[in-house]
């Protein structure tokens, strides 16, 4: 299971990477893409949308099933990865490169409460 040490994670299998401007880039983990199988559709939330922590804000669909993407923290969506609309399979080949959206947290401290790599590994194996 590929779980980079420098990211934060949610129990619902999103990863977050801190950008220099204080926003966070979000995608789904390598473990999640493997569980889902061949991904054929991604719908990311639109930029400008205010979201609540834990809110279902997007969808990933594999050949098998549809799966929600959740807001890892409360905040505002500041960008969406439009590239994934045409090439959703990138999530399978590069889960940590194929980001879905960027979020500006309402409270920067919220991210620190999320799982680190070790805790996510434990959670994903549970």
């Amino acid at each position: 299971m590929n779980i980079p040490k420098d990211l934060r994670y949610t129990e619902s299998h999103e990863w977050l990477k801190r950008e220099t401007d204080g926003t966070y880039t979000v995608g789904i983990t390598d473990h999640a893409q493997e569980q889902l199988g061949d991904i054929v559709f991604v719908e990311a939330p639109k930029a400008g949308r205010k979201v609540a922590s834990g809110e279902a804000i997007g969808v990933v669909e594999s050949v098998k099933a549809a799966s929600d993407i959740y807001a890892p923290v409360a905040g505002e969506i500041v960008a969406a990865n439009a590239e994934l609309t045409g090439t959703p399979e990138k999530v399978n080949t590069d889960a940590y490169g194929a980001w879905m959206f960027r979020i500006k947290p309402d409270n920067a401290g919220d991210v620190d409460k999320l799982l680190d790599a070790a805790a996510y590994e434990k959670s994903a194996n549970a």
Binding site: G37, D38, F41, E43, V59, V63, K64
Partner: protein, 360 residues
């Protein structure tokens, strides 16, 4: 505790992703469902379908028994080895199971039934046989392995692995079976491709599987089997039909033989109820998701429902089978409720893909 086929260890060793499939521990894929799908369309895939059950019907009353039990008419089976696809109905005309029946001798027919319905099927068949009206024995054959080898090169690859079986199977017509190399070899399948379904003693399973893989067949999981069968427009029990749906409402009227005055179980109900909807295919033309079972369909004539839907790897579009209001016809545009959106879809007549080529 999940049930396992004789190939469970082989699947695990091949790195298969295993899932609980109706109580069976089965491979959903061996790495990529889409690549396995393409392998079947373009070359040759190999499926373990040993979770399905062979049920032998033996005795002098076999043919009359099956003419009573099955909605299609086994009277069509005259030549030994010939097979027939049919539904087995309950008294209300609901589908207990869909199955293939093979004719070998007047006192020996063989059914291959679905895994999830096997116990129910045996109870039903035994109950009907025990009424004593027919001289038959119903015998489940649980010590068999079943494999499906499918694709344009499937037959060549099978003969490469089992050259001794070639003479008895090279002239085999579609929907026919022969006994060769200690196996029952049937030119049937569930993918819309040519190929064989083979049944043999369970203790040979690993050896047969390995020989077929060595000859060039690619292991394919039940995930690919589902996208292939849906492209081929074939119904899946439990999704497209079940006991609550008559075959006339599930696109299976062609399998129900009403031409003779044969009294089969479920016939009075079918004749009374008739059919209340159209069963057709959908091709999603809008972007915005994938068609799935139970999604609501909004048609000009009323509402319908997707019975099974998926992403079609061959067409790179989402496709579905659906029950649609009476009067809906191929070429119509309908809308499918996918989460919060109503996405446009074109109505088509299945199949979507046959022998690797798009038909829609």
């Amino acid at each position: 505790m999940l049930k396992t086929t004789p190939l469970n260890a082989v699947h695990l060793a091949a790195g298969a992703r295993m899932v609980d499939f109706g109580g069976w521990d089965m491979p959903v894929h061996y790495g990529s469902q889409i690549e396995e799908h393409h392998a079947v369309r373009q070359n040759c895939g190999l499926f373990d379908v040993s979770h399905m059950l062979i049920v032998d019907i033996e005795g002098s009353g076999s043919r009359s028994f099956l003419r009573h039990v099955l909605a299609n008419d086994v009277e069509k089976l005259k030549i030994p080895g010939k097979a027939l696809y049919t539904c087995m109905l309950d008294g209300n005309g609901g589908v207990i199971d869909d199955l293939i029946v093979y004719f070998f001798r007047e006192d020996f027919f063989r059914l291959v039934v679905n895994a999830g319905t096997a116990e129910k099927d045996i109870r039903w068949l035994t109950q009907l046989a025990d009424r004593g009206q027919f001289a038959v024995h119903v015998t489940p054959q649980r010590d068999r392995a079943l494999l499906a080898i499918q694709g344009p090169n499937a037959r060549e690859i099978f003969w490469k692995a089992f050259p001794e079986a070639k003479a008895n199977t090279e002239n085999l017509m579609p929907f026919s079976a022969a006994l060769a190399a200690g196996m029952m070899v049937a030119r049937t399948g569930y993918t819309g491709e040519d190929g064989f379904e083979i049944a043999f003693a369970a203790d040979r399973a690993e050896d047969v599987w390995k020989k077929l893989v060595a000859a060039g067949a690619r292991p394919a999981g039940l995930g690919a089997r589902d996208t292939l069968r849906l492209e081929a427009g074939m119904n899946l029990y439990g999704q497209d039909m079940d006991e609550s749906v008559s075959p006339l409402d599930a696109g299976l009227a062609w399998t129900v033989d009403l031409k003779t005055d044969r009294a089969f179980v479920g016939r009075p109900a079918l004749e009374k109820e008739g059919s209340s909807n159209e069963f057709l295919g959908l091709v999603l033309t809008d972007k915005g998701g994938v068609l799935r079972g139970h999604q609501k369909v909004l048609a000009p004539e009323g509402e319908g429902e997707v019975t099974s839907g998926t992403f079609s790897p061959t067409l790179s579009q989402s496709i579905a089978l659906a029950r649609l209001p009476r009067g809906t016809k191929p070429g119509d545009t309908v809308h499918v409720q996918v989460r919060d959106k109503a996405l446009a879809a074109r109505v088509v007549k299945p199949p979507f893909v046959r022998n690797g080529k798009s038909l829609v």
